[in-house]
Symmetry: C2
């Protein structure tokens, strides 16, 4: 089996099902998944020849990459299976068995995922530990690969950003938002390598005619990241860290080497990467509106809920870098800071920020 | 997908990798696995047409049912893969990809399993949560199913044994050893149903020509269980429970309703079940000597080590029934009792107590 060498950030969503867990604090992600339901349904009915794909084995295989601990992954998978069943009914096919690969990093809390699997699933469920920037599924075996809210996570922070001698050294910031152009370029190149690898390995895993469906952080081509609400958050994060450093809660070294490996891609740059890869046709490539609250006036409660979700999603990144004793202090201060910035958040660009694309394996 | 209704005991091995964990206390099981290595290697080379099986997909699929948390499952799987590779080299076949299904109950500690997966595996690994008395793998898709030390666990304690009005009511005992013949019969019937179901679902999952390899607790036909060292243990367990009940540490109800759902099968009864099923040919069916220490003089340290393994293996059964506060007390008392019975253990029948069988899917 081909092995891929990558430096991985250990970034599982917060495990368990306690008050700070991802499984209890992923309603924003749930909204995203719901938004995609109709789009994915249409894609499956119009672009997927399910009948031909299952001829032979009569097993239909689906993978959710970056599934976390549930429950969103179960809703997503259920929706996909219903669409495939509708498609098969229309073509008078016999009902296949469904196998679902739930994939995430080995550090993900698969115990919570498995024990919260619905009792009456209509599919066989397996968990696949491993980075989706490497091979995780047998070759030419999967019919639909879906990943929502995961591929904006880079495989690692770009090396240059951590190198004091580099122009891309990102001291005093936690992201490429508002950063030097060398930092932006370093993130962009890292995304290019990661998404390039992602497409390369998925091309090996998908059967010919299979679909790769992706929802991730997006941005219109040419728009500076600083226009976005997330930019307000990243700037505030850096400010909180500097404050905590000045109080001796964290070291300067810790603060300077902390960067969040998240990248928002434009449709144009993903299209370029897909064309370079050459194994897929583009069936859909669009920027969509993300979770509903961003469309309307932002209130204090919205900000608090947002931060609870961010803490469940990014918490382990902070814990791995700073230790777990700073997590609550950091997020309490961050939340208070952002609560004072609702107007700035509200006036940020908040529309087409989810990049959705669907590719068909040639 | 066909769903199977069974009442399951939640019986994961002790999770994590702490001092009481299964992963740290499964060396007796490791010895069993080592003993089987040569036998399994020979089977694969002589009875499996690996070249024909992989034609088409070039993916070779292996399942370990009841894998627990490792590391024994990794050794076992490695050995199997090496044998298959040898077989394929001999027939000048191209190297396939290997997919390994690691199966256990959903309550098993898959997090420990996944994070302790060797870094340099030559296979894609997936975890499959679910009882192996139901379907866990897509139909006609797996080439070798192996299960060591798991199928002597019944899907549940036989109902009659828990029924006060039944002749099989097993008051004052924890097992069918030395019990009324109705109790023995109830366990025997339960094993027949469970193994019947096991063979039925495996027949659906294995490809034609695929192998089902099982190592489990066995016993020569007609031998009373009371001849065995395990019988000394079960009798002592019952005595400790009665003592704890008299001291008010557990209730009479708790003591009377506790039974260990483990059954030792003879080659003859498994052969009968395989013939009844009709989907397999018997390639091997034999009683082997189990773990090495049972062959020689038994000393106090042997007994202590044995009990540490039993605690890691059966601990959750006690915790589920009595609560976790009694676990240490119970096993401390049990160990002390058995330490005083080394001669009795030594004079027990200790030879052909592992039933090994290999079946080929027609």
């Amino acid at each position: 089996m081909e092995k891929v060498e990558i430096v991985l950030n250990s970034l599982p969503m917060s495990g368990g099902d306690g008050p700070n867990s991802y499984s209890k604090n992923s309603h924003l992600q749930r909204k995203t998944t719901s938004l995609l339901k109709e789009t994915i349904d249409k894609l499956i009915l119009e672009k997927l020849d399910a009948k031909t794909l299952i001829s032979g084995s009569n097993t239909f295989r689906i993978a959710d990459l970056g599934c976390a601990t549930g429950p969103n992954t179960f809703f997503l998978v259920d929706d996909i299976i219903k669409s495939v069943e509708t498609s098969l009914r229309k073509s008078n096919s016999s009902k296949p068995e469904f196998l679902v690969y739930f994939n995430d990093l080995p550090e993900n809390d698969f115990n919570t995922l498995f024990t919260s699997l619905p009792q009456d699933t209509s599919y066989l469920a397996v968990g696949v530990p491993g980075s989706f920037y490497g091979r995780v599924i047998p070759r030419s075996s999967v019919h639909i690969v879906v990943t929502v809210g995961a591929t904006h996570w880079l495989s690692s922070v770009p090396k240059e950003v951590l190198d004091k001698r580099s122009k891309a050294w990102n001291k005093g910031k936690v992201h490429y938002s508002n950063a030097a152009k060398e930092v932006v370029k370093a993130y962009e190149r890292q995304f290019g390598r990661d998404m390039g690898k992602f497409l390369e390995v998925r091309a090996k895993e998908l059967v010919s005619g299979g679909l790769l469906v992706v929802g991730m952080c997006g941005i219109p081509k040419g728009m500076p990241f600083s226009n976005l609400a997330d930019s307000v958050m990243y700037t505030s994060m850096a400010e909180v860290l500097i404050q905590m450093q000045s109080q001796g809660l964290i070291t300067e070294e810790q603060a300077d080497t902390f960067n969040i490996p998240i990248y928002s891609a434009s449709p144009e740059e993903v299209t370029f990467l897909v064309e370079t890869n050459g194994c897929f046709t583009v069936e859909s490539m669009e920027l969509m509106n993300p979770a509903a609250w961003l469309k309307r006036a932002v209130n204090v409660e919205d900000v608090r809920q947002w931060m609870i979700c961010i803490k469940a999603t990014m918490g382990s990144l902070f814990i791995n870098h700073f230790g777990d004793h700073i997590l609550d202090v950091f997020f309490d201060r961050l939340t208070e800071k952002l609560v004072g910035l609702t107007e700035k958040i509200e006036s940020s660009y908040r529309e087409k920020l989810m990049l959705f694309f669907a590719l068909k394996r040639k």
